[in-house]
């Protein structure tokens, strides 16, 4: 059997237990934990594509945030179109609005990703400085186009009626939307694990992340796979943006850009190119942000930077280093 490195999951467990000791109240700890896991999984959705793009294509895509923003804005429009179904009392009818909105957000993110890869990134493969400059420029232009299409105001992104409010479990309140985010995040993670570990395409992606030249030398056209991964990663970012907008219940043009620092922290902590690392890193970031925000709000802003520093001191290549 393939051996699994259990130290990173044990680190997550240590953070959970340490927070329980520091917070004291189990109900508060539980609420913060669910919030942290939900936040972490939403960040995972937004970051998973970027880590593969980094690992497989060696592309520094600073425009990733705009795929998140476009997903969120498309979700606003789609939910507005289906506002009747979204406001109904039935969960099934709500899903009739939510699912198409999420699919539209993913599709928009994916199509924008395809455009970026073909037109903006392709001419600068292998040139990191140019990649940073041109993707940052592309993001600025795309954000201005969002202003043109949707206007400069903050837009509301209401949750479907059935996902508003909380479940009460004793003296613990569990937000329905956060639980939904956990379910969606885990489902996407499971699907990615199956794809990466149980299919030939997954095998090619994992091999390509390590050594793309060797994959080509074995007769595979990995560039086509690059494009597919880029589009899939952008689609996930679009989906993540829609869910993140719903999580915050509002959308601005900077919704994606404002997440990029956290996303970069997550993929660096996880190890560039590692989906399992990205998942573990996202959980750590989500949990630490919520725990520290409660325990010491003044430290909260820097807590994730500190987390990154500590993880990199322990493992300079990230939690799950990809063997390049």
């Amino acid at each position: 059997m393939k051996s699994i490195d259990w130290k990173p999951p044990l680190l997550v467990l240590a953070v959970l237990l340490g927070a329980l000791l520091l917070i004291g109240s189990p109900s508060t700890w539980f609420t913060l934990t669910v919030a942290g896991v939900a936040m972490g999984l939403l960040i995972f959705l937004m970051a998973a594509g970027l880590t593969l793009v980094f690992g497989l294509m060696d592309v520094m895509n600073f425009a990733h945030g705009v795929f998140i923003a476009v997903g969120a804005y498309v979700a606003v429009s789609a939910m507005k179109l289906a506002s009747g179904a979204a406001g109904a009392d039935s969960l099934l009818v709500n899903l009739g609005a939510l699912v198409p909105a999420m699919l539209a957000a993913a599709l928009a993110g994916g199509l924008l990703g395809l455009f970026f890869e073909r037109v903006i990134i392709r001419p600068v493969y292998g040139q990191h400085l140019k990649q940073i400059l041109i993707t940052t420029g592309g993001m600025i232009v795309a954000e201005q186009l969002i202003h043109v299409l949707w206007g400069p105001d903050i837009l509301q992104l209401a949750r479907p009626a059935a996902l508003k409010g909380s479940f009460l479990l004793g003296d613990m309140a569990l937000e329905k939307f956060r639980l939904s985010a956990v379910v969606i995040g885990l489902a996407v993670f499971a699907a990615m694990l199956v794809l990466l570990n149980r299919t030939r395409i997954g095998l090619l992606i994992r091999a390509g992340v390590e050594n793309k030249e060797m994959v080509e030398a074995m007769g595979y056209r990995i560039r086509r796979l690059f494009v597919a991964v880029f589009v899939a990663g952008s689609a996930l970012a679009g989906l993540g943006g829609a869910l993140w907008g719903m999580y915050q219940e509002s959308v601005t043009v900077h919704i994606g850009a404002s997440m990029m620092v956290l996303i970069f922290i997550v993929i660096i902590i996880g190890g560039l190119g590692s989906v399992l690392g990205c998942f573990t890193g996202a959980l750590l970031v989500g949990l630490v942000a919520n725990y520290i925000g409660f325990l010491s709000p003044k430290v909260a802003l820097g807590s994730n930077i500190l987390l990154m520093v500590l993880v990199l001191l322990w493992r300079p290549q990230g939690l799950y280093a990809v063997g390049k």
Binding site: K2, L203, E210, M214, A217, M218, G219, G323
Partner: protein, 241 residues
């Protein structure tokens, strides 16, 4: 001498501003193991990489199995039946031995009889089947890299310094494995610095210097001529071990 499977005619390769190959003429006879020898920096690795299209020939031509492959891209060249074992071995450390071999089998599922054939050469591959390749020793990684190249029948193997950095006992195992592999009539072009390996395995030989092939002939003839070795390689092959 058998008809060549691979022919390089006046091949030049530039890497950045450096002019590495300066008109390489080389032929690898079908069904033989051709040794590519030469000092460090002579252009041996660049020759292998140019054949596979990993570096583009800036002039000259490469013909393989009767067809011009000079302008094809690497996947298209590999798909014509060329396998490559780089000096770095190029194994995928995060993938298991099984997954490394699975990926190399482009034509379909792994065939049991082929695997048994490989396990005869390299028993550790069977033993460590589900172990991540990154956990293997240096010799075992080289065995995996070679196993990957032969997991399906290929017309030509390009192998770059397979014995480099390995313990003498492992080198002996590899020599025995290559000797067995030669019986399958696979054409091999091998860069090698180890004299014992070169002399034991090589049918024909090409010696490179300063980006050109400066000598071609039978390996046995070069091995027997110490003066020629000193002239071509700067020292005798015996001293080159």
């Amino acid at each position: 001498m058998p008809e060549p499977l691979l022919t390089l005619s006046g091949v030049h390769t530039h890497i950045g501003h450096y002019h590495i190959l300066q008109g390489v003429d080389l032929a690898a006879p079908r069904g033989e193991l051709t040794m590519l020898l030469g000092r460090n920096g002579a252009g041996k690795t660049t020759t292998l990489r140019t054949i596979l299209g990993l570096w583009r020939a800036s002039a000259g031509g490469v013909r393989f199995d009767g067809q011009d492959i000079t302008r094809l891209d690497t996947p298209a060249i590999a798909a014509r039946g060329i396998a490559y074992v780089p000096e770095s071995m190029g194994i995928f450390a995060g993938l298991t031995v099984h997954e490394n071999l699975l990926l190399a089998a482009r034509e379909g599922p792994l065939r049991d009889e082929r695997l048994e054939w490989i396990f005869r050469f390299f028993p550790p591959m069977k033993k460590f089947w589900d172990l991540p390749a990154g956990n293997l020793s240096g010799g075992q990684k080289q065995m995996l890299a070679i196993s990957r190249a032969i997991v399906e029948p290929r017309k030509l193997l390009l192998i770059d310094e397979p014995t480099k950095g390995l313990a003498p006992a492992i080198i002996q195992n590899l020599i025995a494995a290559f000797a067995e592999l030669k019986k399958s009539q696979t054409t091999i072009l091998m860069v090698e610095q180890n004299f014992h390996a070169a002399r034991s395995l090589g049918d024909s030989v090409a010696v490179m210097d300063a980006g050109r092939v400066v000598h071609t002939g039978r390996m046995a003839d070069l091995a027997a001529d110490e003066a020629l070795q000193t002239k071509l390689l700067g020292l005798s092959l015996e001293a080159h071990q």
